[in-house]
Symmetry: C2
Subunit: 388 residues, 2 copies
């Protein structure tokens, strides 16, 4: 059922091979001091770094470099970014990279002028931002997180072994994002498929909750069918623009608040995966793929109706002559086969998790309400053991 | 294929039974002079008028009434609205009603401070607005047009026998819209089903173009499946909140620019229907339903692939043992059966069209490119004759 909600997503998206041509126009809306956020050398190798620098200089901007954003941005890096932003009184945070850069930029956006420890305020206590928020722009080079059109910001604290995401409101969303599917074509296959599974997981997290008849479910079924179709083309032919452009667009709409309307969600696969990430620094999408099937098989009995719809409407399972539970199980089997086609991590061992870590990972897993079953600590451990 | 585009939809939507509680907060963003736009007596009968007036007064607003917006807003009414806005120097146009009120409000928004004839500038010459644009807010009481989250504005000139829609950019979109599905429950069944078919037609207009593999197609298939499902519940039980809330939400997403990305479109059913509307003043959705099937059967040979996908993915037609064209035809037959279930107008005669009007209607039909077949004047006339 669609009850009370407010939908507001003001991010302006420039999509396509010519998307970067809009950067100059966007820059006019902000003052001259730009903090340029990026990761390692990939944007220098591809030439994108030089292109962006040229556009910034042409626009008369003063550039404050903030490189070295890691795949799972750390709280130490967050503090460093805040220092750069504050000392230089920057007017715009421009993130050039994947979801990590964009997540990090949003973290800096709310934290730079925050007068207490942002880790405690935003990630441990989950408070809403007060005071000055710096505007964020994004040039996306990797696909999966949806960070380019939402308020999500995941930060990792290795010392406390915690990886926590805060979902901020529209005032923290990127003001603009530049999405050129061609930037994603050079990504190593491992990163590409991890991103694809991240998208799939975002949709599943929202799909597997409630049994109402909600338009959101139909939209998600469409997104999943499109993703499955395009991903099969992309793993065979990573240079296929049509497939990669669809995947980029699906990623945005999988997690920009639209398909969540009317759904209660618990995001338990992400809670499990993030805890694994805090212990191993493994690629985010792979931590999700490794725990998904044991988790879904565990909760299936509590949400048979939706798992059955998933099987028929997303995977084309023929329900004739099968019980509801058999149909539901056949859907997960079809998903498993697809995951193996993509060569995703199917267990935690392959990500470096050892038996002795499981108890800590279980303890670091936030247990959320909103799904079919609130897991007990024993169940969390059992799912992780099954995933090992 | 998803090529170059910019997606930007900044309208803030407040949805659900409590949506009106957000009006006071929205009003704070504007000056004290509010032009209150509405149609006839229905919002007075339902009590909504009194509620809105109370909120406006509580917010200290000065109210300038602009009632009498007709189902197909006329150019004379547009001139009147501009006069009210200009003479009173209003700060906000608040439309309370259906798509007509909202379309009209957007027309006034761009025309009030326009120093030439807005009919000529915006509707005949299709120019973009320059100069001051008044902000629009919307409290929606009818569902179908999607006007609450787009830049569409259809105005009718009875003297010139023209009904023309201009689709303005995001600067003209309503700043906020209040969507309470309960407001739609009291609508007469004729208006409800006409609105449902308007939604279906919006999706079909965008779906039947291109044969690329685009995520937009999958999203539209999801929206159509949800609409068909909910409409069948709503015609049996108009008080069903779940069904009516889904229909309201589908209407918004069917025409807010999302599902158009990657699609070329010709909007020919609307071009035909609008010309019928200029001659008869018939309900918009019914003019669309009356011409749809003859038009689609006419173009089917040029777009068999997409009509076949429509049949299988939207209507569940089993393709086994059928040629592509037979599958495609079976899809339209399924749509026809659904339209009859809803008791839609299936021919133009029932809308008051007579044989002698056909030539004029054909002449008033703008022929657009972007679909499977650019129709010749003879073909337009043939489709209308078939629809009679």
């Amino acid at each position: 059922m669609l009850g009370n909600f407010t939908y507001h997503n003001p991010t302006r998206l420039h999509f396509g091979p010519e998307a970067l041509s809009h950067l100059a126009g966007e820059l006019k809306n902000y003052g001259p001091r730009v903090q340029l956020i990026y990761g390692g050398g990939s944007i220098k190798k591809s030439g994108l770094y030089d292109q962006v620098i040229a556009i910034l200089k042409e626009a008369g901007k003063e550039i404050f470099e903030d490189p070295g954003v890691m795949p799972n941005p750390t709280v130490e890096k967050l503090y460093e970014g805040c220092r750069i932003a504050r000392e230089n009184n920057v007017d715009l945070l421009l993130a050039v990279g994947g979801g990590s850069c964009c997540d990090y930029a949003k973290g800096v956006a709310v934290s730079a002028w925050c007068d207490e420890d942002p880790w405690k305020k935003y990630y441990l206590r989950m408070e809403e931002p007060a005071g000055r928020i710096l505007p964020v722009g994004c040039v996306l080079t990797m696909v999966g997180t949806g960070s380019e059109m939402n308020g999500g910001s995941v930060i990792t604290n290795h010392q406390e072994k915690l990886k926590i995401g805060h979902v901020f409101g529209p005032e923290v969303f990127p003001k603009f994002s530049i999405l050129n599917p061609n930037y994603t074509l050079t990504l190593p296959k491992y990163q590409m498929v991890a991103g694809i599974y991240d998208i799939m997981s975002h949709i599943c997290e929202q799909y597997f909750s409630d049994t109402d008849d909600t338009t959101s479910d139909y939209l998600m079924e469409g997104l999943m069918r499109s993703l499955i179709h395009s991903s099969r083309i992309a793993v065979q032919d990573p240079q296929n623009y049509e497939a990669r452009s669809n995947i980029m667009w699906i990623a945005t709409w999988a997690l920009n608040t639209l398909v969540a309307q009317g759904k209660t969600t618990d995001w338990m696969v992400h809670m499990l995966g993030q805890s694994v990430g805090a212990y191993t620094d493994a690629t985010h999408g792979m931590t999700l793929s490794a725990v998904s099937l044991p988790y879904y098989r565990h909760i299936l009995p509590y949400g048979v109706h939706q798992f059955q719809k998933f099987a028929v409407n997303v995977w084309g399972v023929d329900p004739a002559g099968k019980s509801d539970e058999e149909v539901a199980q056949a859907g997960l089997a079809a998903m498993e086969a697809w995951m193996k086609e993509l060569d995703l991590a199917m267990d935690l061992k392959s990500l470096g998790v050892t038996q002795d870590m499981l108890e800590g990972i279980a303890k670091g897993t936030f247990v959320m309400k909103g799904g079919y079953k609130v897991l007990s600590p024993q169940e969390i451990l059992a799912v992780l053991q099954e995933s090992l």
